[in-house]
């Protein structure tokens, strides 16, 4: 049997293609990254691939991040996948924001996100960057 560590996988859900490209360039240094450009696509990919962490934008045209978060947390198969919500609206996710979802998402980040801060916050939930697997 050979030990082959696999990289942990992050699902990045954001309709801003530029933000996705810039953020992926940072995350790929440590993690595998899957992208979804809308809330509906994000839910579908989360259900099929079960990522290790989800970065979830708030404002998206088809389905906003709050609704996606609620659905994910209501799904027993995905409820324990950590979610970090993202927004370019300062204070949108503060304590007086949409409390129902903020209290379920594990963390939030305000854009723009500095690379070091992004990796630090993601790393809190995905220590090591790798998961063990045995073949």
């Amino acid at each position: 049997m050979t030990y082959m560590p696999q990289r942990k996988c992050i699902l990045l859900v954001d309709d801003d293609h530029d933000f996705v490209e810039a953020t992926t360039a940072v995350l790929e240094s440590v993690y595998d990254v899957d992208m979804a450009y809308g809330g509906g696509e994000g839910l579908a990919k989360a259900r099929t691939s079960r990522p290790d962490l989800i970065l979830l934008d708030v404002i998206m045209p088809d389905m906003d991040g709050f609704d996606v978060c609620e659905e994910l947390k209501a799904d027993p198969a995905l409820a324990d996948v950590p979610i970090i919500m993202l927004t370019s609206l300062p204070g949108a996710l503060g304590p007086s924001g949409k409390v129902g979802c903020v209290s379920q998402a594990e963390d939030y980040l305000e854009k723009p996100v500095r690379p070091a801060e992004l990796l630090r916050r993601v790393g809190k939930f995905l220590a090591g960057g790798e998961q063990d697997s045995q073949r």
């Binding site: 801003d16 240094s29 370019s88 854009k111 690379p115 801060e117």
Partner: protein, 389 residues
């Protein structure tokens, strides 16, 4: 040509009056014609006439000057077309025009002498009540239109401008941190300058939006338990690039931090604004010090610089909206950072003080922020209220 009752009835102000009531107004009217570009009434002039436009269009303009040193500009605040009135201040104290009406094209008006009109309305309370009710309705409609426009603008600016700026800043940060390949020294410098300018723009947009909607209860609704050390570290990171560009050293004197209650994001804004100013107004090679200490009832934060200082005459105004001190020269800014800081600190029942100079024989400024330690989050407040029942 004589002015008829029908012509007066077509106006927005007098449309509700009966014939006998309108008949009383005819003697105080006369007709006037203005050329394109002519000023019909001027801002701050005594409101001696009320005008009803019969033909043509007037624009209403206001003078705007941000702060003491801002460039004087004019802004169009309304349009007055046929059947509409200009110069409502003729009937409302302090009887001084609040804007300037300029002809967009040749204009024909019915002008009513204000003094005589006011006396007439005073002597006929029934007519006076009808006219003032209409004016109140017009004022309400204009106010609603202005606040709707402001709300739309704030909402638009909040996301539609911020999102693209955030995307630009993300790309710049990713490149500067080496995630997109190696950069030459020249590329590094240009990208650093770009990141600084975009950051300034993003903060300015944030300040303008905040000014439009910052109320104490909104800030207090965001109170949470947090570590002020993390907020301080975030603020230092916010100014690290600008300080590096100017070769200004940031010295930190932290205590052993204990969690407190406050609006975390807003306090970060306060410290970032103070540090940004300190760096902006400090010479190259100088030091900005950021320290904190705990007292039984409050946490005290201080930001000190070795910069140009604030003239004594300006210090009482330094927290006013759009105020900039006399000695700022060409340093960029619109004068919102300190006024926002003051609003945030006030919402925390705290204090913000300025001392300049703070050392004998040396220029420089110290800002002191005092945040009480007895604040409650919304949940704590609800818990206290239900226990007391």
């Amino acid at each position: 040509m004589t002015i008829t009752l029908e012509q007066l009835r077509h106006s927005d102000i007098f449309g509700e009056l009966a014939d006998d009531e309108l008949a009383q107004l005819v003697p105080v009217c006369h007709r006037a014609v203005y050329r394109e570009g002519e000023v019909v009434l001027a801002e701050d002039a005594p409101a001696d006439w009320l005008f009803i436009v019969e033909q043509g269009v007037l624009t209403l303009e206001k003078r705007i000057q941000l702060g003491r040193r801002g460039t004087l500009r004019t802004a169009t605040v309304g349009i007055v077309g046929p059947g509409k009135s200009a110069g409502l201040s003729a009937l409302t104290p302090s009887h001084v025009y609040t804007s300037t009406a300029v002809c967009l094209e040749p204009v024909q008006v019915i002008a009513l002498d204000a003094r005589t009109l006011r006396r007439l309305l005073n002597d006929n309370p029934r007519v006076g009540y009808k006219v003032m009710s209409v004016i109140a309705g017009l004022a309400r409609a204009r106010y609603k239109s202005a606040t709707d426009t402001l709300a739309y603008f704030v909402s638009l600016v909040s996301h539609e401008l911020r999102a693209p700026l955030a995307a630009i800043e993300n790309y710049l940060n990713v490149m500067l941190d080496g995630f997109a390949g190696e950069l030459s020294d020249k590329q590094q410098r240009m990208l650093r300058r770009s990141a600084l300018r975009v950051n300034d723009l993003r903060l300015l947009i944030g300040d303008i939006v905040d000014l439009a909607r910052m109320r104490p209860e909104q800030i207090q609704a965001d109170f949470e338990v947090f570590d002020p050390g993390e907020v301080g570290a975030d603020s230092i990171e916010d100014v690290r690039l600008a300080a590096g560009e100017k070769n200004v050293r940031i010295k930190i004197e932290p205590p052993k931090f204990v969690k407190i209650v406050g609006a975390r994001r807003r306090l970060r804004q306060v410290f970032t604004n103070l540090l940004t100013n300190a760096v902006k107004f400090s010479p190259s090679g100088s030091t900005v010090t950021f320290r904190a200490r705990y007292e039984p009832d409050a946490v005290i934060f201080e930001v000190e610089d070795e910069g140009i200082g604030i003239p004594p005459d300006d210090q009482p105004h330094i927290f006013d909206d759009f105020f900039r001190a006399e000695n700022v020269g060409d340093v960029s800014g619109v004068g919102l950072g300190l006024s926002i800081a003051r609003k945030v600190v006030d919402a925390h029942n705290g204090k913000i003080l300025v001392t300049s100079p703070y050392l004998d024989g040396k220029t420089g400024t110290r800002f002191t922020v005092v945040i009480p330690r007895n604040l409650l989050t919304p949940e704590m407040r609800r818990s206290v209220q239900s226990e007391s029942k």
